[in-house]
């Protein structure tokens, strides 16, 4: 491969996909509707004959789908896809034929079947398809045979293994795999009981477990429980499909385009992986919502193709600097096969490289062990306990062995939403966080603007120091201060008394307490919050201010037209973070400030979890509440982030 030096990307807007919805509908219908008609007819016929032949029919149907309809549809799709793509102004053309491509794909399906899917899993099939397709793709009228795919299967293995392994590991670790034989014993217990058995016997038993699972569940009346388990497995797999699959496809897309050469020019993918992830995620979501219709009609594919073509570019030389070879790939470089790659990986030089790498960096991995152990023990293992929210609340049993709660595991969620205390806590959380957002969020911005306009240097520095001070006080201390300040003999009430007003009692009056809560929040964090805004203000180009001054802009004008727009990215990022915690509730602040008199407005979710969960041992209920809270937070975070990106902001990732 030739390194690309002194090159820049092709221009935005010159790459696009001009296929229509119809071009995607056709292969879909071919794959989903038309071709199945043939095996379906066969199926119906054999069913009519009856008996065990139904099995045969199922096999024939499956084979027809895998080996005839699928490849045929894929071949049509490839043809249409390539012919409708324009890369940097050059329309592409597929020089292969439909029949040849379909045959090639059928061959790969057979390989996959023969190796029990290993061929697919290892990524060999994906690499082979890519190579086949790109060797037959050229620019319209370009020289055939100068295109190709220089990637190899190694890059595909890991993502594939991950998308297969992660759901399995999740299922296994969460105890969801219902490996129970007739007597209700779990496979793990069986293993523990028979430690001296041969490994092959274990395998055999495992198979028996899987086979007996269904029939046993039906017979012994544990069917309900198994249904719950199955539903949960389904949900987890669904999450895996919506998250892992988009991730995988995004990875593959980038890798595929970056390794493609068309007529000697190397392609490059200019989009951010996350954008594509989001697109595929949305498509998957839409497909699910429309019961697959979105996918079947080819709409999802169409949007992905449009995205993909739009971000595919060619490296072009920077004029007058680079030579032709710096961005063109010589044809002989295209003959990189996976065999060649393996040879390169295991060559003596490569082994030496690996050895040197290991010798150099093993200490780094040694260092990383500590944080990894920390994260696994204190962050990731607790996540496994989340399932508790879906199980019965039996403190005696370990979490793993607790049976699922009723209502398909949603018992505690239903209970929580029927619980007056929880609804109250939810409302309080929303109200307090909403008021915080409304009043507490703009406060540091205003304060920062004020500080920025303060023109006495020393005075400014001293005020900053004092503004930061409340941040360093704990909420216990702030609560103590407030208690004294607002007590009947406190500073505030003394002053009010002197002015002849009625005294305040925020620690016994609900409405006053809420106001005090918000104000104390501002008092504590507004000063600290200015740091980040002040830093952002210093990054604003001073020439803008000078120019504005020349134009006769006043102070407010400058703030409104220069400073605030300059702060916009910072404000948006912080706002996204804020949105992510709209339902997340701080514990220290309300807990320190509250007392029994104001608990109708002060009990937020975190306090609810504390009193019911940790002090009240209703672990399942409070876990369910915690799950609800985390999920909403995550949704808000993602929502706010993608909304910000929609409006052309940078977002937080």
């Amino acid at each position: 491969m030739v390194e690309v030096r002194d090159a820049r990307l092709g221009e935005e807007g010159n790459s696009y996909y001009d296929g229509r919805f119809v071009s995607h509908l056709a292969p879909r219908l071919l794959g989903f509707l038309f071709f199945p008609a043939v095996p379906a007819g066969a199926f119906a016929a054999i069913i009519a004959i009856g008996g065990y032949r139904a099995l045969l029919a199922a096999v024939i149907t499956g084979a027809a789908l895998c080996f005839v309809c699928g490849p045929a549809a894929a071949a049509v799709r490839i043809l249409l896809t390539v012919n409708h793509t324009v890369v940097d102004g050059a329309p592409l053309e597929y020089t292969g034929r439909f029949a040849g491509t379909a045959l090639f794909l059928i061959k790969l399906s057979l390989f996959s079947l023969a190796t029990l899917g290993l061929y697919w899993l290892s990524g060999l099939s994906a690499a082979a398809v890519n190579r086949y397709v790109y060797e037959r793709t050229s620019r319209k009228g370009g020289a055939p045979g100068r295109s190709g795919f220089v990637g190899n299967f190694v890059h595909i293995i890991l993502p594939r293994v991950i998308i297969v392994a992660v759901p399995l590991i999740l299922l296994y670790m969460s105890g969801l795999l219902p490996l129970r034989p007739q007597n209700g014993e779990r496979f793990l217990d069986y293993l523990a009981k028979h430690p001296d058995q041969e490994p092959s016997m274990h395998l055999w038993t495992l198979m028996r477990y899987v086979v007996y699972m269904g029939s046993d569940a039906l017979r012994s009346g544990t069917f309900y429980n198994e249904v719950t388990t199955l539903i949960w497995s389904g949900i987890m797999l669904f999450i895996a499909a919506l998250v892992l699959l988009p991730w995988y496809r995004g990875r593959m897309l980038k890798w595929q385009i970056d390794n493609t050469v068309i007529d000697g020019y190397r392609l490059t993918y200019s989009a951010v992986h996350n954008d594509y992830f989001l697109l595929v995620f949305l498509n998957g979501f839409l497909s699910v919502v429309t019961l697959g219709l979105f996918n079947i009609l080819g709409l999802s594919r169409l949007s992905m193709m449009k995205f993909r073509a739009k971000h595919t570019h060619v490296y072009v030389p920077v004029s007058g600097q680079a030579s032709q070879t710096s961005y063109m790939i010589p044809p002989e470089a295209l003959r990189v096969t996976w065999r060649g790659h393996m040879r390169a990986v295991f060559s003596p030089e490569a082994r030496l490289r690996t050895k040197n790498y290991a010798r150099r960096y093993w200490t780094l991995y040694l260092l990383l062990i500590v944080p990894m152990v920390y994260l696994i023990v204190f962050k990731y293992i607790p996540m496994l306990y989340i399932q508790m929210g879906f199980k019965t609340n039996n403190i005696m049993l370990p979490v793993w062995d607790n049976p699922w709660s009723s209502n398909y595991g949603f018992e505690w969620f239903i209970k929580a939403f029927k619980n007056k205390d929880f609804i109250n806590a939810l409302r309080n959380t929303l109200v307090l966080n909403g008021l915080d957002l409304l009043f507490g969020f703009p406060a540091p911005i205003i304060l920062a603007l004020l500080l920025n306009e303060l023109s006495f240097r020393k005075y400014k520095r001293i005020s900053q120091t004092i503004f930061y001070m409340p941040h360093f006080l704990s909420w216990v201390i702030i609560a103590a201060l407030a208690l004294k300040l607002f007590s009947s003999t406190g500073l505030v009430n003394l002053m009010l008394e002197n002015a002849g007003r009625t005294p305040l009692a925020p620690f016994s009056d609900n409405a006053q307490w809420v106001v005090m809560y918000v104000l104390l929040g501002i008092w504590q964090s507004a000063g600290w919050g200015t740091i980040i805004y002040l830093a952002a203000i210093t990054n604003i180009n001073p020439e803008l201010y000078e120019a504005a001054e020349v134009d006769g802009a006043g102070r407010l004008r400058k703030i409104w037209n220069i400073t605030l727009p300059g702060l916009r990215p910072t404000i948006i990022v912080l706002l996204i973070m804020r949105m992510g915690s709209i339902l997340g509730s701080d514990f220290e602040r309300p807990f320190a400030l509250k007392n029994p008199l104001v608990s109708p407005v002060a009990d937020v979710i975190s306090i609810y979890v504390y009193t019911h969960g940790i002090r009240g041992t209703q672990f399942a209920l409070s876990s369910a509440v915690g799950i609800f809270q985390s999920a909403i937070c995550l949704i808000f975070l993602f929502g706010a982030n993608s909304l910000a990106k929609k409006f052309g902001e940078r977002g937080i990732w």
Partner: protein
């Protein structure tokens, strides 16, 4: 540059507004300080405003003589020092390897670390885990579970990124290993960020009472950090002067509470102004990258 008259007036208006905000910031604290230094009688007669009436250091003396309070203060100091050291070590050895751009698996480590910032299991799962591994109701529970803040790790990592790679590369050519480079190049260059994070961790540890409230029961009272003790003191009817068999007059218990609050506040208020330059830079660094 010559300023116009209206600009000058504006400057003064802003200065006055800032002065009022400063007052709002420090008045409550001054009031408490004055109360803690006053004698009980003036307190009851509502006299104390910002200047102590009837100078009296008795409250402080009594707080210092209260063995429970002093022990808690000492214990919190020890805990804070241990926590800061532990947290700094863990944070450093997490951030440092991630600086190596050619470290294989760097992205995976990065993602695994950052993910925990956005999604956490919650308190109840943590409680059950601690129960299962036997940390519940023991003092290490105040150190271990939250010993690294991902946000602080990002600050440190960003700082490390700012150190030119050429330093590291030349050291590598001289035959120094990663740990050697960390100790003799990275750490000496990053004293400012270490100071910042030390302050953050120390403030966090000193001010936190949630973990003790969650994970320690009342039998473990000797390990209660000062904030939890204060919380109990301020919120419970039986204030600790009753336990000390002092006549429970309102005024005395008032000054005592205020004196304890001052004790818990002053250490941090004495430290933070000196580190202001550093933590401002630290927060900015974290805000840009986080």
């Amino acid at each position: 540059m010559i300023k116009s008259k209206s600009t000058k007036i504006g400057d003064w208006i802003i200065a006055v507004i800032c002065f009022f905000i400063i007052l709002i910031c420090i008045l409550p604290l001054l009031n408490v300080a004055a109360r803690s230094l006053s004698d009980a009688d003036s307190l009851i007669r509502n006299k104390v405003f910002l200047w102590p009436k009837g100078w009296n250091l008795g409250a402080y003396r009594r707080v210092l003589n209260d063995s429970k309070f002093v022990r808690s203060l000492q214990w919190t100091a020890v805990l804070t020092v241990m926590g800061v050291v532990l947290s700094l070590i863990v944070t450093t050895i997490t951030a440092y390897p991630l600086v190596y751009e050619n470290l294989k698996g760097r992205k995976i480590f990065n993602t695994a670390i950052i993910f925990t910032m956005y999604f956490g299991a919650g308190t109840v799962p943590m409680y059950l885990l601690l129960k299962q591994i036997g940390l519940l109701n023991t003092w290490p529970v105040l150190l271990l579970p939250y010993c690294m803040s991902i946000f602080n790790m990002i600050i440190m990592r960003s700082f490390f990124y700012g150190i030119p790679d050429s330093y590291r590369e030349s050291a590598e050519i001289d035959g120094a290993g990663p740990i050697r480079i960390l100790i003799s190049i990275y750490l000496p260059l990053s004293t400012s960020v270490i100071a910042t994070l030390a302050l953050f961790y120390a403030v966090g540890r000193w001010n936190s009472y949630t973990d003790a409230l969650y994970f320690l029961n009342s039998k473990e009272e000797q390990f209660f950090p000062i904030q939890l003790l204060l919380y109990n003191l301020i919120n419970s009817l039986q204030s600790f002067d009753q336990a000390q068999e002092v006549a429970p007059t309102v005024g005395i218990s008032e000054t005592l509470k205020m004196a304890s609050v001052m004790f818990a506040t002053i250490p941090i208020l004495c430290v933070y102004p000196w580190l202001q330059r550093y933590f401002v830079a630290g927060v900015t660094l974290g805000g840009e990258k986080g």
